[in-house]
């Protein structure tokens, strides 16, 4: 790989910026700013740096509407907002999806708008850690903050997760490498275990790699639980792992002082889904009879946890909240975006700071191709290719301030570093405007109906 000299040509440094990429929410970044643009980022990983130093070629700068030929056409803000408000006001079963890459302040207006029109509000948890949240509802959740784990943990387990690819600074900032109060030698005081069918980049640097079979997670955790409870395992291999290794691992896990388990989408995306996590949590319950163990889901986006916490606080349910009856409802398999789309129930889809075009399975995107889609985002992406109204937002944590929640539930204020492009608007402003405009349409309809 080519050598890149350090960036020295900049006007000012904005210190203590927060990274708006993954659930680590690293809040120690320095942005190097020149002429109102971030030209360099210090301390961020490859992912964080590439997001902050975005590709301006594909930045959404102007509001757009599809014309009758199916081509996007630039329009002014009023026209675009009116068009979107009209679609939302006349919808029977709208879904407002996304929210994980915007601020809590924006979600506040989103809830108001959702309640007004009886929409379903859902976020990326529905395609990533939804099963984890269900498991938490099933069997509980022994949590700890990342700081506590950094100071205390002497065994770190990553299961179904590859932080070296998806949360690159997680090991160096929070879990494995840093020195902690009780772990003065950092990495040397900790054992790193990776459980993953793949010999992933994280597995390559671990002390122990357990490569169980594909879809073997459920059996494997059950075997560990059996071993922890002193039961004899009667098969020689469970999920492709020899019995002796399982006994040895169970013994090692029992004898640490403080263990932390991080789990990722490897568990939630395979066949047993939330039952995998039920089992992982119950395994921890068993371990807690001997010593202290905690667990944290590896949340993907910087504010995906924020939506769940905010929704649970405001409405009682973490995601997939349906307002169509006038009060919040939540029913797995019924009020979730993917199910609503594959059943072809939804008639207007608004996506805020997310990319269903890239990340939904084809079966769900096919329905999006049949209904109007409103997009609020900062970049031109696969979703723009299927969007009918495009509203350019602003970049939280760089161009506009906001609150987000880290993967362990710690709220973090993300400050503003540079000004947004002139023609863009803040997400918060866009959703508030939509709310006001829809309110006006509804009031007019009510006035006509009462005559």
């Amino acid at each position: 790989m080519a050598y890149e000299p350090p960036v020295t040509d900049y006007d000012e440094i904005v210190e203590n910026g927060t990274c708006a990429f993954c659930g680590c929410n690293c809040d120690d970044l320095d942005f190097l700013v020149k002429d109102g643009h971030v030209v360099g980022v210090r301390h961020a990983c490859r992912l964080g740096a590439s997001k902050v130093m975005e590709d301006m070629d594909q930045r959404l700068l102007v509001p757009m509407i599809r014309d009758e030929n199916g081509e996007l056409q630039e329009v002014d803000w009023d026209t675009a907002l009116d068009k979107a408000a009209e679609l939302i006001a006349n919808a029977v079963r709208p879904i407002f999806y996304g929210w994980s890459e915007t601020s809590i302040e924006t979600m506040k207006h989103g809830i108001r708008l959702g309640e007004l029109v009886g929409a379903v509000l859902d976020n990326q948890a529905t395609i990533c850690h939804g099963p984890s949240l269900q498991a938490v509802q099933n069997v509980g959740y022994p949590v700890a903050t990342l700081g506590e784990i950094k100071n205390r943990a002497d065994m770190i387990v990553y299961t179904g997760s590859n932080p070296m690819n998806s949360h690159p600074r997680h090991l160096s900032r929070y879990s494995t490498f840093p020195r902690g109060w009780f772990r003065q030698r950092g990495r040397f005081d900790r054992t790193l275990v990776t459980m993953d069918p793949k010999y992933s980049d994280t597995a390559k640097m671990s002390d122990i790699w357990i490569g169980f079979e594909q879809n073997g997670d459920y059996g494997f955790y059950n075997a560990i639980r059996a071993a922890l409870r002193g039961k004899e395992i009667d098969q020689d291999f469970v999920s492709g792992i020899p019995k002796e290794d399982i006994m040895e691992l169970a013994e090692a896990m029992k004898n640490v002082q403080f263990g932390a388990l991080y789990f990722g989408l490897g568990l939630t995306h395979t066949l047993s889904k939330q039952r995998n996590i039920d089992m992982a949590i119950e395994m921890l319950a068993d371990l807690n009879k001997y010593t202290k163990w905690v667990l944290t889901p590896m949340r993907g986006h910087f504010n995906v946890n924020g939506f769940n916490i905010f929704m649970a606080y405001e409405m009682g349910f973490p995601y997939g909240v349906d307002f169509c009856r006038g009060y919040p409802r939540y029913m797995n398999g019924e009020t979730n975006t993917i199910d609503l789309l594959t059943r072809k129930e939804c008639d207007v889809f608004m996506v805020i700071a997310a990319d269903p075009g890239a990340h939904y399975p084809g079966g769900a995107v096919k329905h999006l191709a049949e209904i109007p889609v409103i997009q609020v985002d900062i970049h031109w992406g696969p979703s723009t290719e299927i969007a009918d109204v495009v509203l350019p937002g602003s970049f939280i944590g760089v161009e506009c301030a906001g609150t987000s929640y880290r993967m362990d539930g710690v709220p973090i204020h993300m400050k503003k570093a540079v000004d947004k492009p002139e023609t863009c608007r803040d997400d918060e402003w866009i959703i508030r405007e939509l709310h006001e405009r829809v309110q006006k349409i509804k009031a007019e309809e009510a006035a006509v109906a009462s005559k």
């Binding site: 992912l47 070629d57 395609i127 590859n162 010999y199 398999g333």
Partner: protein
Amino acid sequence: MTYIEKPVVPKVVKLEEPTATEREVLNMMLNTGSDIYQGACKKRGSTCKDEYRKVCGVAYMDPKDMARLGVSNWDTVKVTTDWGEVIVSAVHSRDAPHEGTIFIPKGPWANVITSHETYCCCDPTYKGIYCTVETSDEEVLLMADLMRAVYKKYVVDEETIPELESLGEMPVYKKK
């Protein structure tokens, strides 16, 4: 370095494998998920570019499987599941060995063939899907072309899709 042309992949050494009898079609297990190249390219916003096609429109394969199929790095293959088929480039996986499984980073290409089945758990099945892999001489489509060819939202005549001009690597819209 945040900009890349394509992921760095090991070179395929064609092994003299007595077991590696050549096959026309491989029955494999498909996994999808995030990958650092995919994450960096996607969140920077470069989804229309050739780079996105090179980081997402690829199937990371075990070199032995590649030898069986007779493909080398960046040759195109067709991956088929119960939910669809897609053309991607085959590349040597840096996590090999994992014979019998392929990995396609999450993105529009992978999602043409993932399962939307949630089994009432809200989450689609993105991992552990049975698939077949065979060689192909078609080209891997750019993101915009792929979205048009697969979902056909604004296509008037579906028959004409193969002849339509590519939408290219830059956003296409009418300015005021």
